[in-house]
């Protein structure tokens, strides 16, 4: 696999900032040793992320979408070094950050990546003033020493995200959810990173505030040339933000494609399911017959293609053989039906009877 395709959606030629190859994260969720010995319960491993290949293009927005438990937030946390991968390579600016163990060796890389969190009520230390919160990355990385210079930088950052310099003196609880998310973004920008991981950046916010934050994120990307990885369950948010989209299901990617192409012609049956079931304000489908079935437990994923239990196209091969992500020039899909040409034509989401 190479950098995103030329042509549709994501113009080619740009450098890859982050390259993930076979990235895997397993969590040991076994019952305690005593329970295993006495009650004969088995070790259990949660395969949160299972062999993920993804390229994040510099200066662009790549998004991961999926339902809860699909592993998208784990990918975000792996990338910002909160977790260590069980296997695989995570190349950021030419360095495999998954293998670096030394805090000092990681520091210069950490300065260039930051994360915006979902919950603006939990992402700011309630006992710190806003100025100290925003200055934390500056101090942690030793970027400025002079208190006056730090204050000036904080004021500049606050104004950049649409707040006032005087807000540095206030505490987080004095702000609304949207304003707190702006503070969180200002902190994220403080060490002048090129890479921002946004984990559900607006899912705790109201729609009118969501629009403000999404616009701000896009403005910042344009002004500062930032690279984003956006994690979201909301297809409409992803549509607005992303150049390239990866759809995840039970720890694996089922489809990666340039955004315009993905929305115009989704190919993986799961991508189609998502697009068909999201209620759309502009094209409501009032007679929708939703597909039955639920997401299987990630502790016990189905064999073969993980989606086969809900897939209308599943056959014996899908139940036994796990499909790999195949690149066919218009994006990558992991689906036997696509490979075999069994996929029906896409009639469009939200179309009557669609």
């Amino acid at each position: 696999m190479t950098a995103p395709r030329d042509g549709i959606g994501a113009p080619g030629g740009e450098a890859v900032l982050v390259r993930l190859r076979g990235v895997t994260k397993h969590f040991d969720v076994s019952p305690p040793l005593l329970a295993r010995l006495l009650e004969g319960r088995r070790r259990q491993v949660l395969k949160a992320v299972d062999g993920l290949d993804l390229d994040v293009a510099r200066g662009r927005t790549t998004a991961l979408v999926g339902e809860s438990g699909c592993g998208k937030s784990t990918v975000a946390r792996l990338l910002v070094t909160l977790y260590r991968p069980t296997a695989g390579d995570m190349i950021f600016e030419g360095v495999d950050i998954g293998r670096l163990r030394d805090r000092r060796a990681l520091a210069p890389l950490r300065r260039r990546m930051q994360m915006i969190f979902q919950d603006p009520f939990a992402s700011l230390n309630p006992r710190w003033r806003v100025g100290r919160i925003i200055a934390e990355p500056i101090r942690a990385h030793g970027l400025l020493d002079d208190p006056a210079a730090i204050r000036r930088r904080v004021a500049e950052l606050l104004e950049h995200v649409g707040l006032r310099a005087a807000d540095a003196e206030r505490f987080p609880h004095e702000f609304s959810g949207g304003q707190r998310q702006r503070i969180s973004i200002a902190r994220g920008l403080a060490s002048s990173p090129h890479f921002l991981v946004c984990d559900e950046p607006t899912s705790a916010l109201d729609v009118s505030v969501q629009a403000q934050i999404l616009n701000l994120l896009r403005d910042l990307q344009r002004d500062l040339g930032l690279t984003y990885l956006v994690i979201s369950h909301d297809l409409a948010v992803v549509r607005f933000m992303a150049d390239t989209i990866g759809v995840m299901y039970l720890g694996r990617l089922c489809e990666v494609a340039p955004a315009d192409l993905l929305f115009a012609r989704p190919r993986h049956p799961y991508t189609r399911l998502l697009m068909e079931t999201v209620p759309d304000l502009r094209r409501p489908d009032r007679d929708r017959q939703p597909l039955a079935g639920e997401v299987p437990s990630p502790l016990d994923p189905p064999p073969g293609c993980a989606f086969h239990t809900r897939c209308p196209l599943a056959d014996d091969r899908c139940r036994q053989e796990r499909p790999g992500l195949r690149d066919d020039g218009a994006g990558q899909v992991a689906c036997h039906a696509v490979e075999e040409g069994r996929l029906p034509a896409w009639r469009g989401a939200g179309m009557p009877g669609g």
Binding site: Q210, T277, P279, D280, R282, E294
Partner: protein, 328 residues
């Protein structure tokens, strides 16, 4: 709407007394729900939509209280009922479905026991009859192998299945109205669609009316017949769902619809409403939306606009619905 409304709410006021004076979280809301109708109530968090629902079903969290107005269900006044009288109405004639299914279910009892107990509280049935009804209800809300699942505990169900159980519980006594407060918010998108479709089907089959409280305009657009938009504790617009979504009257509704991103295009920017909704403590005079309103004029700043009918909708806005014809 033809015929008598099932539920009428007139000038409902809900207050939370605090030491700095009462906080008015619902301020003069009037609504009607016809039998079998799905009324969507939308608004952002803090708009008072959940408090309106809680007041109607008599489940306001203390110290919150109804400080004014009246609620009638089929001609019977509800807001003045005592606790004991309330228990006979709640469950029997109004059912409730909340966001988190776990809070509505007792983790220590099997689903079957909770259903049969609720059924026998409200309906004159033997244990065997109640159990048969419980099984039928579980089947009706789409739980496979309903007979066996009766003996399962709530934690043995997935989130979506649990919400189905809660809906079955709300349906136990065949109520005329169900208040559903964010019934799909805690669920994944593919499950959300199943639950809204279920609510719609039950509503049609039983003639049950639903008050669907949600922040998600997409869900409203696909589920509701009419919609009521709330802002800062007040009703700003009501009307048929298609009219409110596509031809909004109130500038707030208009702004709200415009700032919702869609899957179908990628504009360079989203429309946005500047600022944030005022808190009940800092309510501006006049129209509550005027500080954020691009159309605000002189009367908006000083006088609170009444609800004025602009068929097919009605709105409270001096600019868009200026005629002094209060809706009856």
């Amino acid at each position: 709407m033809a015929g008598q409304p099932l539920l009428t709410v007139r000038d409902l006021v809900v207050e939370f007394p605090t030491r700095r004076g009462a906080l008015r979280v619902v301020d003069g809301v009037s609504l009607d729900i016809a039998p079998g109708e799905v009324l969507g109530v939308v608004g952002e968090s803090g708009a008072g939509k959940s408090q309106t629902g809680a007041a109607i079903i008599g489940l306001l969290e203390p110290p919150g209280r109804i400080a004014g107005g009246a609620v009638h269900l089929e001609g019977q006044r509800l807001d003045t009922l005592s606790g004991e009288q309330w228990r006979r109405v709640r469950g029997r004639r109004i059912g409730a479905v909340f966001q988190d299914p776990l809070t509505s279910l007792n983790p220590l009892y099997t689903v079957g026991r909770q259903l049969t107990e609720t059924i026998r509280t409200h309906l004159d049935m033997t244990e065997a009859q109640a159990r048969a009804r419980a099984r039928a209800l579980l089947g009706e809300v789409g739980i496979p192998a309903a007979g066996e699942r009766l003996d399962a505990y709530p934690h043995q169900f997935s989130g979506g299945m649990r919400q189905r159980v809660v809906i079955a519980l709300a349906l136990c006594a065949n109520p005329r109205l169900i208040i559903a407060d964010e019934p799909t918010t805690a669920l994944d998108v593919s499950i959300q669609a199943q639950i809204t479709a279920l609510l719609k089907r039950l509503c049609r089959d039983h003639g049950t009316a639903v008050m669907l409280i949600t922040h998600d305009m997409g869900v409203i657009a696909e589920t509701a017949d009419r919609v009521a938009v709330m802002y800062a504790g007040r009703l700003v617009e009501t009307g048929p769902v298609d009219a409110v979504v596509n031809r909004p009257l109130h500038p707030y509704t208009e702004g709200l619809m415009a700032c919702i991103p869609t899957m179908h295009d990628r504009p360079p920017r989203l429309a946005q409403i500047e600022g944030a909704m005022p808190a009940p403590r800092a309510m501006p005079p006049g129209c509550a939306f005027h500080p954020r309103c691009p159309l605000a004029m002189e009367p908006c700043v000083s006088m609170r606009p009444p609800m004025v009918a602009r068929p097919p909708s009605a709105a409270a806005c001096w600019v868009r619905a200026p005629e002094p014809e209060p809706v009856s």
